[in-house]
Amino acid sequence: MTAVQPTVLMSGRYQRAFTIAVVFLVAGWHLAGAGGQLLHNRSAYGSFAFQGAMWLVMALAITAGTVLVLRGTPGWRAAWAVAVIVLAASIAAAAASPAGQMLAVNWGWGSAGWTGVLVLLRRRFVELACFLAAEALGILGVQVWDGLHRADLAGFLALLAWSTGAQVAVAAGVRALDVAAGQAAAAARSEHAARERAATAEIIRAARHVRWLALQESAVPLVAELATGTADPADAQVRTRCAIQAARLRRLLAEGDEVPGSLVHELHASADMAERRGVAVEIETAGLLPQVPGPARRVITDTAIAILTAARSRARITLAAVAAGIAVSFVADTGAVVRLPVTGEGVAIEQQQDGGMLWAEARWNSR
Protein backbone atom coordinates (compact mmCIF):
# COMPACT_ATOMS: atom_id res chain seq x y z
CA MET A 1 0.00 0.00 0.00
CA THR A 2 2.81 2.36 0.85
CA ALA A 3 4.49 1.60 -2.45
CA VAL A 4 1.95 3.49 -4.51
CA GLN A 5 0.33 6.24 -2.51
CA PRO A 6 3.09 8.79 -1.88
CA THR A 7 4.28 8.82 -5.46
CA VAL A 8 0.81 9.04 -6.97
CA LEU A 9 0.10 11.84 -4.54
CA MET A 10 3.31 13.56 -5.54
CA SER A 11 2.66 13.41 -9.26
CA GLY A 12 -1.01 14.35 -8.65
CA ARG A 13 0.01 17.34 -6.53
CA TYR A 14 2.21 18.78 -9.26
CA GLN A 15 -0.48 18.29 -11.87
CA ARG A 16 -3.00 20.08 -9.68
CA ALA A 17 -0.61 23.00 -9.21
CA PHE A 18 -0.28 23.33 -13.01
CA THR A 19 -4.07 23.20 -13.37
CA ILE A 20 -4.53 25.95 -10.79
CA ALA A 21 -1.95 28.10 -12.57
CA VAL A 22 -3.94 27.74 -15.80
CA VAL A 23 -7.19 28.59 -13.94
CA PHE A 24 -5.63 31.82 -12.69
CA LEU A 25 -4.34 32.62 -16.16
CA VAL A 26 -7.78 32.13 -17.75
CA ALA A 27 -9.69 33.97 -15.01
CA GLY A 28 -7.17 36.84 -15.03
CA TRP A 29 -7.36 37.11 -18.80
CA HIS A 30 -11.16 37.15 -18.87
CA LEU A 31 -11.50 39.67 -16.04
CA ALA A 32 -8.66 42.05 -16.79
CA GLY A 33 -7.88 41.49 -20.47
CA ALA A 34 -11.29 40.82 -22.02
CA GLY A 35 -13.25 42.74 -19.38
CA GLY A 36 -10.93 45.75 -19.67
CA GLN A 37 -11.21 45.80 -23.45
CA LEU A 38 -15.00 45.47 -23.27
CA LEU A 39 -15.31 48.48 -20.94
CA HIS A 40 -12.75 50.52 -22.86
CA ASN A 41 -14.65 50.09 -26.13
CA ARG A 42 -18.15 50.19 -24.64
CA SER A 43 -19.27 53.07 -26.86
CA ALA A 44 -18.15 51.30 -30.03
CA TYR A 45 -20.58 48.36 -29.80
CA GLY A 46 -24.08 48.43 -31.30
CA SER A 47 -25.41 46.85 -28.13
CA PHE A 48 -23.18 46.97 -25.08
CA ALA A 49 -25.79 44.95 -23.16
CA PHE A 50 -25.44 42.04 -25.62
CA GLN A 51 -21.64 42.12 -25.40
CA GLY A 52 -21.89 42.22 -21.59
CA ALA A 53 -24.27 39.26 -21.63
CA MET A 54 -21.85 37.25 -23.80
CA TRP A 55 -19.01 38.17 -21.42
CA LEU A 56 -21.11 36.87 -18.50
CA VAL A 57 -21.96 33.66 -20.37
CA MET A 58 -18.24 33.07 -20.89
CA ALA A 59 -17.49 33.89 -17.24
CA LEU A 60 -20.01 31.24 -16.19
CA ALA A 61 -18.53 28.75 -18.67
CA ILE A 62 -15.05 29.42 -17.25
CA THR A 63 -16.39 28.83 -13.71
CA ALA A 64 -17.96 25.54 -14.81
CA GLY A 65 -14.71 24.56 -16.57
CA THR A 66 -12.72 25.36 -13.43
CA VAL A 67 -14.93 23.09 -11.32
CA LEU A 68 -14.54 20.33 -13.94
CA VAL A 69 -10.76 20.43 -14.16
CA LEU A 70 -10.32 20.66 -10.39
CA ARG A 71 -12.22 17.37 -10.13
CA GLY A 72 -9.87 15.59 -12.52
CA THR A 73 -9.56 15.28 -16.28
CA PRO A 74 -13.06 16.04 -17.60
CA GLY A 75 -14.85 13.61 -19.91
CA TRP A 76 -15.25 14.60 -23.53
CA ARG A 77 -18.95 15.53 -23.18
CA ALA A 78 -18.41 17.94 -20.29
CA ALA A 79 -15.21 19.42 -21.76
CA TRP A 80 -16.72 19.96 -25.17
CA ALA A 81 -19.99 21.37 -23.73
CA VAL A 82 -17.95 24.16 -22.13
CA ALA A 83 -15.83 24.55 -25.26
CA VAL A 84 -18.84 24.85 -27.56
CA ILE A 85 -20.52 27.43 -25.28
CA VAL A 86 -17.47 29.72 -25.26
CA LEU A 87 -17.00 29.20 -28.99
CA ALA A 88 -20.61 30.23 -29.68
CA ALA A 89 -20.49 33.19 -27.27
CA SER A 90 -17.26 34.58 -28.68
CA ILE A 91 -18.38 34.29 -32.29
CA ALA A 92 -21.79 35.84 -31.47
CA ALA A 93 -19.99 38.71 -29.75
CA ALA A 94 -17.71 39.12 -32.78
CA ALA A 95 -20.65 39.02 -35.20
CA ALA A 96 -22.47 41.72 -33.21
CA SER A 97 -19.43 44.02 -33.34
CA PRO A 98 -19.44 46.88 -35.84
CA ALA A 99 -18.15 45.85 -39.29
CA GLY A 100 -14.64 47.06 -40.05
CA GLN A 101 -13.79 47.51 -36.37
CA MET A 102 -14.40 43.96 -35.28
CA LEU A 103 -10.79 42.97 -34.64
CA ALA A 104 -10.04 46.20 -32.82
CA VAL A 105 -12.91 45.82 -30.36
CA ASN A 106 -12.97 42.01 -30.17
CA TRP A 107 -12.51 40.81 -26.62
CA GLY A 108 -13.84 37.25 -26.94
CA TRP A 109 -11.28 35.44 -29.09
CA GLY A 110 -8.58 35.37 -26.43
CA SER A 111 -10.96 34.36 -23.62
CA ALA A 112 -12.49 31.59 -25.69
CA GLY A 113 -9.05 30.23 -26.63
CA TRP A 114 -7.83 30.22 -23.01
CA THR A 115 -11.02 28.53 -21.83
CA GLY A 116 -10.43 25.84 -24.46
CA VAL A 117 -6.90 25.39 -23.12
CA LEU A 118 -8.33 25.04 -19.60
CA VAL A 119 -10.88 22.31 -20.30
CA LEU A 120 -9.00 20.43 -23.04
CA LEU A 121 -5.56 20.68 -21.44
CA ARG A 122 -5.23 17.04 -20.42
CA ARG A 123 -7.26 15.56 -23.21
CA ARG A 124 -5.74 14.57 -26.55
CA PHE A 125 -3.76 17.43 -28.11
CA VAL A 126 -5.68 17.09 -31.37
CA GLU A 127 -8.88 18.12 -29.56
CA LEU A 128 -7.35 21.42 -28.47
CA ALA A 129 -5.97 21.97 -31.99
CA CYS A 130 -9.46 21.41 -33.46
CA PHE A 131 -10.99 23.81 -30.97
CA LEU A 132 -8.47 26.59 -31.64
CA ALA A 133 -8.85 26.09 -35.39
CA ALA A 134 -12.67 26.25 -35.11
CA GLU A 135 -12.43 29.46 -33.09
CA ALA A 136 -10.02 31.05 -35.59
CA LEU A 137 -12.17 29.97 -38.54
CA GLY A 138 -15.27 31.39 -36.83
CA ILE A 139 -13.62 34.77 -36.36
CA LEU A 140 -12.33 34.68 -39.93
CA GLY A 141 -15.86 33.81 -41.11
CA VAL A 142 -17.27 36.89 -39.35
CA GLN A 143 -14.51 38.95 -40.92
CA VAL A 144 -15.27 37.62 -44.41
CA TRP A 145 -18.99 38.29 -43.87
CA ASP A 146 -18.22 41.89 -42.96
CA GLY A 147 -16.05 42.27 -46.09
CA LEU A 148 -12.42 41.30 -45.88
CA HIS A 149 -9.68 43.84 -46.66
CA ARG A 150 -6.01 43.18 -46.96
CA ALA A 151 -5.33 45.13 -43.76
CA ASP A 152 -7.95 43.11 -41.91
CA LEU A 153 -6.35 39.84 -42.99
CA ALA A 154 -2.94 41.05 -41.76
CA GLY A 155 -4.48 42.00 -38.42
CA PHE A 156 -6.24 38.65 -38.21
CA LEU A 157 -3.02 36.76 -38.86
CA ALA A 158 -1.12 38.85 -36.31
CA LEU A 159 -3.78 38.21 -33.65
CA LEU A 160 -3.90 34.53 -34.58
CA ALA A 161 -0.13 34.18 -34.22
CA TRP A 162 -0.04 35.98 -30.91
CA SER A 163 -3.06 34.59 -29.11
CA THR A 164 -3.22 31.04 -30.47
CA GLY A 165 0.56 30.77 -30.33
CA ALA A 166 0.57 31.68 -26.64
CA GLN A 167 -2.25 29.24 -25.94
CA VAL A 168 -0.53 26.34 -27.70
CA ALA A 169 2.72 27.18 -25.92
CA VAL A 170 1.06 27.11 -22.49
CA ALA A 171 -0.74 23.85 -23.26
CA ALA A 172 2.48 22.23 -24.49
CA GLY A 173 4.37 23.57 -21.47
CA VAL A 174 1.90 22.07 -18.99
CA ARG A 175 2.09 18.76 -20.83
CA ALA A 176 5.86 18.77 -20.60
CA LEU A 177 5.64 19.55 -16.86
CA ASP A 178 3.11 16.71 -16.44
CA VAL A 179 5.55 14.32 -18.06
CA ALA A 180 8.40 15.57 -15.89
CA ALA A 181 6.29 15.17 -12.74
CA GLY A 182 5.32 11.66 -13.87
CA GLN A 183 8.98 10.77 -14.37
CA ALA A 184 9.94 12.19 -11.01
CA ALA A 185 7.14 10.18 -9.42
CA ALA A 186 8.21 7.00 -11.24
CA ALA A 187 11.79 7.48 -10.07
CA ALA A 188 10.57 8.00 -6.52
CA ARG A 189 8.34 4.94 -6.89
CA SER A 190 11.16 2.66 -7.99
CA GLU A 191 13.37 3.98 -5.21
CA HIS A 192 10.56 3.40 -2.75
CA ALA A 193 9.98 -0.10 -4.13
CA ALA A 194 13.68 -0.89 -3.83
CA ARG A 195 13.66 0.31 -0.23
CA GLU A 196 10.58 -1.79 0.49
CA ARG A 197 12.15 -4.84 -1.14
CA ALA A 198 15.25 -4.40 0.96
CA ALA A 199 13.12 -4.00 4.10
CA THR A 200 11.07 -7.09 3.20
CA ALA A 201 14.24 -9.08 2.56
CA GLU A 202 15.53 -8.03 5.95
CA ILE A 203 12.25 -9.04 7.63
CA ILE A 204 12.33 -12.40 5.85
CA ARG A 205 15.95 -12.93 6.80
CA ALA A 206 15.25 -12.12 10.44
CA ALA A 207 12.13 -14.32 10.46
CA ARG A 208 14.10 -17.16 8.88
CA HIS A 209 16.80 -16.83 11.50
CA VAL A 210 14.19 -16.96 14.26
CA ARG A 211 12.63 -20.02 12.63
CA TRP A 212 16.01 -21.67 12.25
CA LEU A 213 16.57 -21.17 15.97
CA ALA A 214 13.12 -22.60 16.63
CA LEU A 215 13.98 -25.66 14.53
CA GLN A 216 16.94 -26.28 16.80
CA GLU A 217 14.45 -26.59 19.64
CA SER A 218 11.67 -28.51 17.86
CA ALA A 219 12.78 -30.46 14.78
CA VAL A 220 16.21 -31.47 15.96
CA PRO A 221 14.95 -33.13 19.20
CA LEU A 222 12.21 -34.91 17.19
CA VAL A 223 14.74 -36.32 14.75
CA ALA A 224 16.88 -37.39 17.70
CA GLU A 225 13.90 -39.13 19.32
CA LEU A 226 13.10 -40.91 16.05
CA ALA A 227 16.71 -41.99 15.67
CA THR A 228 16.97 -43.37 19.20
CA GLY A 229 13.55 -45.00 18.97
CA THR A 230 11.97 -43.05 21.84
CA ALA A 231 9.44 -41.62 19.38
CA ASP A 232 7.38 -44.22 17.52
CA PRO A 233 6.18 -43.31 14.01
CA ALA A 234 3.16 -45.58 14.59
CA ASP A 235 1.97 -43.08 17.23
CA ALA A 236 -0.51 -40.60 15.71
CA GLN A 237 0.85 -37.81 17.88
CA VAL A 238 4.38 -38.40 16.65
CA ARG A 239 3.13 -38.36 13.07
CA THR A 240 1.39 -35.02 13.65
CA ARG A 241 4.60 -33.61 15.15
CA CYS A 242 6.50 -34.87 12.10
CA ALA A 243 3.98 -33.28 9.73
CA ILE A 244 4.29 -29.91 11.45
CA GLN A 245 8.07 -29.98 11.50
CA ALA A 246 8.12 -31.07 7.87
CA ALA A 247 5.86 -28.12 6.95
CA ARG A 248 8.19 -25.76 8.79
CA LEU A 249 11.26 -27.16 7.11
CA ARG A 250 9.61 -26.93 3.71
CA ARG A 251 8.74 -23.33 4.31
CA LEU A 252 12.24 -22.55 5.43
CA LEU A 253 13.51 -24.03 2.17
CA ALA A 254 10.86 -22.28 0.06
CA GLU A 255 11.66 -18.84 1.39
CA GLY A 256 14.33 -18.19 -1.17
CA ASP A 257 14.62 -15.59 -3.86
CA GLU A 258 11.62 -17.04 -5.69
CA VAL A 259 9.15 -15.46 -3.26
CA PRO A 260 9.77 -11.73 -3.46
CA GLY A 261 6.11 -10.69 -3.13
CA SER A 262 4.99 -9.44 0.23
CA LEU A 263 1.66 -11.30 -0.12
CA VAL A 264 3.50 -14.63 0.12
CA HIS A 265 5.44 -13.27 3.05
CA GLU A 266 2.27 -12.18 4.83
CA LEU A 267 0.60 -15.54 4.22
CA HIS A 268 3.64 -17.26 5.73
CA ALA A 269 3.25 -15.07 8.78
CA SER A 270 -0.44 -16.05 9.05
CA ALA A 271 0.52 -19.73 8.70
CA ASP A 272 2.94 -19.40 11.60
CA MET A 273 0.13 -18.76 14.03
CA ALA A 274 -1.83 -21.78 12.85
CA GLU A 275 1.27 -23.96 13.10
CA ARG A 276 1.71 -23.03 16.71
CA ARG A 277 -1.76 -24.52 17.23
CA GLY A 278 -0.60 -27.75 15.60
CA VAL A 279 -2.05 -27.23 12.09
CA ALA A 280 0.22 -28.42 9.28
CA VAL A 281 0.23 -25.67 6.64
CA GLU A 282 1.70 -25.94 3.16
CA ILE A 283 2.07 -22.96 0.86
CA GLU A 284 2.73 -23.33 -2.86
CA THR A 285 2.97 -20.89 -5.73
CA ALA A 286 2.49 -21.40 -9.47
CA GLY A 287 3.72 -18.98 -12.07
CA LEU A 288 5.10 -15.47 -11.84
CA LEU A 289 2.87 -13.73 -9.32
CA PRO A 290 1.81 -10.11 -9.84
CA GLN A 291 2.24 -7.47 -7.14
CA VAL A 292 -1.04 -7.06 -5.25
CA PRO A 293 -1.89 -3.62 -3.80
CA GLY A 294 -2.10 -3.24 -0.01
CA PRO A 295 -5.87 -3.05 0.55
CA ALA A 296 -6.44 -6.15 -1.63
CA ARG A 297 -3.64 -7.97 0.21
CA ARG A 298 -5.37 -7.24 3.48
CA VAL A 299 -8.63 -8.80 2.26
CA ILE A 300 -6.67 -11.91 1.18
CA THR A 301 -4.71 -12.27 4.43
CA ASP A 302 -7.90 -11.74 6.45
CA THR A 303 -9.42 -14.62 4.50
CA ALA A 304 -6.33 -16.70 5.27
CA ILE A 305 -6.52 -15.94 8.97
CA ALA A 306 -10.25 -16.76 9.14
CA ILE A 307 -9.67 -20.14 7.47
CA LEU A 308 -6.45 -21.04 9.30
CA THR A 309 -8.09 -20.27 12.62
CA ALA A 310 -10.89 -22.70 11.78
CA ALA A 311 -8.59 -25.40 10.35
CA ARG A 312 -8.36 -28.48 12.56
CA SER A 313 -5.21 -30.25 11.43
CA ARG A 314 -4.12 -29.24 7.93
CA ALA A 315 -4.39 -26.48 5.38
CA ARG A 316 -3.02 -25.93 1.88
CA ILE A 317 -2.59 -22.42 0.54
CA THR A 318 -1.79 -21.90 -3.12
CA LEU A 319 -1.05 -18.75 -5.07
CA ALA A 320 -1.42 -19.04 -8.83
CA ALA A 321 -0.92 -16.42 -11.50
CA VAL A 322 -4.11 -16.30 -13.58
CA ALA A 323 -5.10 -14.06 -16.48
CA ALA A 324 -4.99 -10.46 -15.22
CA GLY A 325 -4.40 -11.31 -11.59
CA ILE A 326 -3.84 -13.88 -8.90
CA ALA A 327 -5.93 -16.73 -7.44
CA VAL A 328 -5.15 -17.43 -3.80
CA SER A 329 -6.87 -20.58 -2.63
CA PHE A 330 -7.27 -22.38 0.65
CA VAL A 331 -8.16 -26.01 1.27
CA ALA A 332 -8.55 -26.86 4.95
CA ASP A 333 -10.38 -29.29 7.22
CA THR A 334 -12.49 -26.65 8.91
CA GLY A 335 -15.44 -28.98 9.37
CA ALA A 336 -17.89 -26.22 8.55
CA VAL A 337 -18.39 -23.14 6.43
CA VAL A 338 -16.22 -20.25 7.60
CA ARG A 339 -17.41 -16.69 7.80
CA LEU A 340 -15.10 -14.90 5.37
CA PRO A 341 -14.40 -11.20 4.79
CA VAL A 342 -16.67 -9.48 2.32
CA THR A 343 -15.62 -9.23 -1.28
CA GLY A 344 -13.97 -5.88 -1.97
CA GLU A 345 -10.85 -4.00 -3.10
CA GLY A 346 -10.96 -5.93 -6.37
CA VAL A 347 -10.91 -9.29 -4.55
CA ALA A 348 -13.72 -11.77 -5.21
CA ILE A 349 -14.09 -14.52 -2.61
CA GLU A 350 -15.86 -17.82 -3.15
CA GLN A 351 -16.09 -20.94 -1.04
CA GLN A 352 -17.35 -24.49 -1.32
CA GLN A 353 -17.79 -27.06 1.42
CA ASP A 354 -17.36 -30.78 0.69
CA GLY A 355 -17.76 -32.96 3.74
CA GLY A 356 -15.37 -31.58 6.32
CA MET A 357 -13.14 -29.92 3.72
CA LEU A 358 -13.45 -26.27 2.86
CA TRP A 359 -12.21 -24.81 -0.41
CA ALA A 360 -12.08 -21.06 -0.73
CA GLU A 361 -10.56 -18.84 -3.35
CA ALA A 362 -9.76 -15.14 -3.19
CA ARG A 363 -9.22 -13.88 -6.70
CA TRP A 364 -7.73 -10.44 -7.32
CA ASN A 365 -8.01 -8.87 -10.73
CA SER A 366 -5.79 -6.03 -11.80
CA ARG A 367 -8.48 -4.65 -14.09
Binding site: R250, E284, A286, R316, T318, Q352, D354, M357, W359, E361
Partner: protein
Protein backbone atom coordinates in the same frame (compact mmCIF):
# COMPACT_ATOMS: atom_id res chain seq x y z
CA UNK B 1 -6.68 -62.12 -10.10
CA UNK B 2 -4.67 -59.88 -12.39
CA UNK B 3 -0.90 -59.99 -12.29
CA UNK B 4 0.52 -57.17 -10.15
CA UNK B 5 2.51 -54.47 -11.92
CA UNK B 6 6.22 -54.92 -11.30
CA UNK B 7 8.31 -51.97 -10.18
CA UNK B 8 11.96 -51.22 -9.58
CA UNK B 9 13.16 -48.36 -7.41
CA UNK B 10 16.37 -46.41 -7.89
CA UNK B 11 16.98 -44.47 -4.72
CA UNK B 12 20.15 -43.70 -2.82
CA UNK B 13 18.51 -43.13 0.57
CA UNK B 14 17.48 -46.47 2.15
CA UNK B 15 14.94 -44.72 4.40
CA UNK B 16 13.06 -43.45 1.33
CA UNK B 17 13.13 -46.90 -0.25
CA UNK B 18 11.63 -48.29 2.93
CA UNK B 19 8.89 -45.66 2.86
CA UNK B 20 8.02 -46.52 -0.75
CA UNK B 21 7.99 -50.21 0.15
CA UNK B 22 5.55 -49.55 2.98
CA UNK B 23 3.22 -47.57 0.69
CA UNK B 24 3.26 -50.38 -1.84
CA UNK B 25 2.64 -52.95 0.92
CA UNK B 26 -0.28 -50.99 2.37
CA UNK B 27 -2.10 -50.84 -0.99
CA UNK B 28 -5.28 -52.84 -0.27
CA UNK B 29 -5.34 -54.50 -3.72
CA UNK B 30 -1.60 -55.35 -3.63
CA UNK B 31 -1.53 -54.09 -7.22
CA UNK B 32 2.19 -53.35 -7.35
CA UNK B 33 5.09 -55.71 -6.62
CA UNK B 34 8.53 -54.27 -5.96
CA UNK B 35 10.97 -56.53 -7.80
CA UNK B 36 14.19 -54.57 -7.62
CA UNK B 37 15.84 -51.98 -5.44
CA UNK B 38 19.04 -50.26 -6.57
CA UNK B 39 21.06 -47.32 -5.31
CA UNK B 40 22.11 -46.16 -8.76
CA UNK B 41 21.27 -46.59 -12.42
CA UNK B 42 24.11 -49.09 -12.97
CA UNK B 43 21.98 -51.53 -10.99
CA UNK B 44 19.33 -51.73 -13.71
CA UNK B 45 19.49 -54.44 -16.34
CA UNK B 46 19.62 -53.49 -20.02
CA UNK B 47 16.55 -55.61 -20.67
CA UNK B 48 13.63 -54.25 -18.65
CA UNK B 49 13.28 -56.19 -15.45
CA UNK B 50 10.17 -54.34 -14.30
CA UNK B 51 7.18 -52.58 -15.86
CA UNK B 52 7.95 -49.31 -14.14
CA UNK B 53 11.04 -47.66 -12.67
CA UNK B 54 10.53 -45.36 -9.71
CA UNK B 55 13.45 -42.99 -10.14
CA UNK B 56 14.77 -40.55 -7.57
CA UNK B 57 15.91 -37.61 -9.68
CA UNK B 58 18.85 -36.87 -7.41
CA UNK B 59 21.29 -39.71 -6.96
CA UNK B 60 24.47 -39.10 -4.95
CA UNK B 61 23.86 -35.38 -5.16
CA UNK B 62 23.48 -35.28 -8.95
CA UNK B 63 20.38 -34.66 -11.05
CA UNK B 64 19.80 -37.61 -13.36
CA UNK B 65 17.01 -36.18 -15.56
CA UNK B 66 19.22 -36.56 -18.63
CA UNK B 67 19.40 -40.33 -18.01
CA UNK B 68 15.65 -40.69 -18.50
CA UNK B 69 15.76 -40.90 -22.35
CA UNK B 70 18.17 -43.84 -22.05
CA UNK B 71 15.86 -45.69 -19.66
CA UNK B 72 12.86 -44.96 -21.87
CA UNK B 73 14.70 -46.15 -24.97
CA UNK B 74 15.53 -49.40 -23.15
CA UNK B 75 11.78 -49.94 -22.68
CA UNK B 76 11.31 -48.79 -19.09
CA UNK B 77 8.42 -46.61 -18.02
CA UNK B 78 9.70 -43.99 -15.62
CA UNK B 79 7.91 -42.39 -12.69
CA UNK B 80 10.08 -39.64 -11.27
CA UNK B 81 10.00 -39.35 -7.49
CA UNK B 82 11.79 -36.33 -6.19
CA UNK B 83 12.23 -33.82 -3.44
CA UNK B 84 12.56 -31.11 -6.05
CA UNK B 85 9.38 -29.33 -6.98
CA UNK B 86 10.84 -26.65 -9.24
CA UNK B 87 8.43 -26.45 -12.24
CA UNK B 88 11.38 -26.28 -14.66
CA UNK B 89 12.70 -29.64 -13.40
CA UNK B 90 9.20 -31.16 -13.57
CA UNK B 91 8.84 -30.01 -17.18
CA UNK B 92 12.29 -31.27 -18.14
CA UNK B 93 11.53 -34.66 -16.57
CA UNK B 94 8.27 -35.03 -18.54
CA UNK B 95 9.91 -33.75 -21.70
CA UNK B 96 12.59 -36.43 -21.38
CA UNK B 97 9.86 -39.05 -21.42
CA UNK B 98 8.94 -39.79 -17.80
CA UNK B 99 5.31 -40.87 -17.46
CA UNK B 100 4.64 -38.98 -14.26
CA UNK B 101 6.24 -36.79 -11.64
CA UNK B 102 5.56 -37.36 -7.96
CA UNK B 103 7.09 -35.05 -5.37
CA UNK B 104 8.15 -36.63 -2.08
CA UNK B 105 5.34 -34.83 -0.25
CA UNK B 106 2.83 -36.43 -2.61
CA UNK B 107 4.30 -39.92 -2.40
CA UNK B 108 1.91 -41.41 0.13
CA UNK B 109 -1.20 -40.38 -1.80
CA UNK B 110 -0.01 -40.65 -5.37
CA UNK B 111 3.01 -42.87 -5.94
CA UNK B 112 1.19 -46.21 -6.22
CA UNK B 113 -1.51 -44.72 -8.46
CA UNK B 114 1.13 -43.06 -10.64
CA UNK B 115 2.99 -46.37 -11.03
CA UNK B 116 -0.23 -48.16 -12.02
CA UNK B 117 -1.16 -45.44 -14.52
CA UNK B 118 2.35 -45.50 -16.01
CA UNK B 119 2.23 -49.29 -16.44
CA UNK B 120 -0.95 -48.82 -18.48
CA UNK B 121 0.57 -45.89 -20.44
CA UNK B 122 -2.16 -43.70 -19.00
CA UNK B 123 -1.56 -40.09 -17.93
CA UNK B 124 -1.30 -39.38 -14.23
CA UNK B 125 -1.12 -35.75 -13.16
CA UNK B 126 0.02 -34.98 -9.62
CA UNK B 127 -0.51 -31.56 -8.07
CA UNK B 128 3.15 -30.71 -8.62
CA UNK B 129 2.74 -31.58 -12.31
CA UNK B 130 -0.39 -29.41 -12.50
CA UNK B 131 1.60 -26.61 -10.92
CA UNK B 132 4.38 -26.94 -13.49
CA UNK B 133 1.86 -26.93 -16.35
CA UNK B 134 0.10 -23.85 -14.94
CA UNK B 135 3.43 -22.06 -14.56
CA UNK B 136 4.66 -23.04 -18.02
CA UNK B 137 5.48 -19.94 -20.04
CA UNK B 138 7.68 -21.49 -22.72
CA UNK B 139 6.82 -20.33 -26.25
CA UNK B 140 6.48 -23.96 -27.44
CA UNK B 141 3.96 -24.97 -24.77
CA UNK B 142 0.77 -26.63 -26.03
CA UNK B 143 -2.45 -24.61 -26.03
CA UNK B 144 -4.81 -25.65 -23.23
CA UNK B 145 -8.53 -24.96 -23.26
CA UNK B 146 -10.15 -22.77 -20.61
CA UNK B 147 -11.77 -25.86 -19.05
CA UNK B 148 -8.53 -27.86 -18.97
CA UNK B 149 -6.76 -24.94 -17.33
CA UNK B 150 -9.53 -24.46 -14.74
CA UNK B 151 -9.57 -28.18 -13.86
CA UNK B 152 -5.77 -28.16 -13.45
CA UNK B 153 -5.93 -25.02 -11.31
CA UNK B 154 -8.53 -26.44 -8.91
CA UNK B 155 -6.64 -29.75 -8.74
CA UNK B 156 -3.38 -27.89 -7.98
CA UNK B 157 -5.19 -25.87 -5.31
CA UNK B 158 -5.80 -29.10 -3.40
CA UNK B 159 -9.40 -30.02 -4.14
CA UNK B 160 -10.38 -33.66 -4.60
CA UNK B 161 -11.49 -34.53 -8.14
CA UNK B 162 -15.06 -34.90 -6.84
CA UNK B 163 -14.92 -31.35 -5.45
CA UNK B 164 -13.43 -30.04 -8.70
CA UNK B 165 -16.35 -31.68 -10.53
CA UNK B 166 -18.88 -30.03 -8.22
CA UNK B 167 -17.18 -26.68 -8.58
CA UNK B 168 -17.18 -26.88 -12.38
CA UNK B 169 -20.66 -28.46 -12.55
CA UNK B 170 -19.37 -31.41 -14.56
CA UNK B 171 -18.85 -35.10 -13.82
CA UNK B 172 -15.77 -36.44 -12.12
CA UNK B 173 -15.00 -38.38 -15.28
CA UNK B 174 -14.98 -35.18 -17.30
CA UNK B 175 -12.57 -33.65 -14.77
CA UNK B 176 -10.22 -36.62 -15.27
CA UNK B 177 -10.63 -36.24 -19.01
CA UNK B 178 -9.70 -32.53 -18.96
CA UNK B 179 -6.63 -33.14 -16.80
CA UNK B 180 -5.53 -36.17 -18.81
CA UNK B 181 -6.01 -34.29 -22.06
CA UNK B 182 -3.78 -31.47 -20.86
CA UNK B 183 -1.12 -34.07 -19.99
CA UNK B 184 -1.53 -35.82 -23.35
CA UNK B 185 -1.00 -32.52 -25.15
CA UNK B 186 2.38 -32.29 -23.42
CA UNK B 187 3.25 -35.80 -24.63
CA UNK B 188 2.81 -34.46 -28.16
CA UNK B 189 5.33 -31.64 -27.77
CA UNK B 190 9.05 -31.30 -27.29
CA UNK B 191 11.54 -34.10 -27.89
CA UNK B 192 10.30 -37.44 -29.13
CA UNK B 193 10.32 -40.51 -26.91
CA UNK B 194 8.69 -43.93 -27.25
CA UNK B 195 7.03 -43.47 -23.85
CA UNK B 196 5.39 -40.23 -25.02
CA UNK B 197 4.16 -41.92 -28.18
CA UNK B 198 2.72 -44.76 -26.12
CA UNK B 199 1.00 -42.36 -23.75
CA UNK B 200 -0.47 -40.41 -26.64
CA UNK B 201 -1.60 -43.54 -28.49
CA UNK B 202 -3.30 -44.81 -25.34
CA UNK B 203 -4.97 -41.42 -24.78
CA UNK B 204 -6.36 -41.50 -28.31
CA UNK B 205 -7.49 -45.09 -27.83
CA UNK B 206 -9.21 -44.16 -24.56
CA UNK B 207 -10.93 -41.22 -26.22
CA UNK B 208 -9.19 -38.71 -23.95
CA UNK B 209 -7.95 -36.76 -26.93
CA UNK B 210 -8.63 -36.91 -30.67
CA UNK B 211 -5.78 -36.94 -33.19
CA UNK B 212 -7.05 -33.57 -34.39
CA UNK B 213 -6.39 -31.98 -30.97
CA UNK B 214 -2.77 -33.06 -31.01
CA UNK B 215 -0.01 -30.92 -32.42
CA UNK B 216 1.44 -33.48 -34.79
CA UNK B 217 5.09 -34.29 -34.99
CA UNK B 218 6.95 -36.87 -37.05
CA UNK B 219 6.65 -39.91 -34.87
CA UNK B 220 2.94 -39.43 -34.22
CA UNK B 221 1.96 -40.79 -37.60
CA UNK B 222 4.03 -43.87 -36.94
CA UNK B 223 2.54 -44.30 -33.46
CA UNK B 224 -1.04 -43.96 -34.59
CA UNK B 225 -0.60 -46.41 -37.45
CA UNK B 226 1.47 -48.92 -35.55
CA UNK B 227 0.61 -49.31 -31.86
CA UNK B 228 3.65 -49.25 -29.59
CA UNK B 229 5.47 -52.52 -29.36
CA UNK B 230 6.88 -51.84 -25.88
CA UNK B 231 5.76 -54.81 -23.81
CA UNK B 232 2.05 -54.31 -23.19
CA UNK B 233 1.52 -54.71 -19.47
CA UNK B 234 -0.82 -57.35 -18.19
CA UNK B 235 -3.43 -54.81 -17.12
Amino acid sequence: MEQPVTAAIIEDHPVVTEGVESWIRSDPGQRVRLVQMARDLAGLRAVPSADVVILDLELSGELVTTQIPGLVAAGYRVVAFSGHSDPAIVMETLDHGAHAYVSKEEGRDHLVEAVLAAAADRPYVTRSQARAILADQRPARPALSQQERQALLLWFQGMSKASVARRMSISENTVRQYISRARAKYAATGRTAPSKDALLARAIEDGVITPGEVTPYDSLARTAADPPSLGTPGR
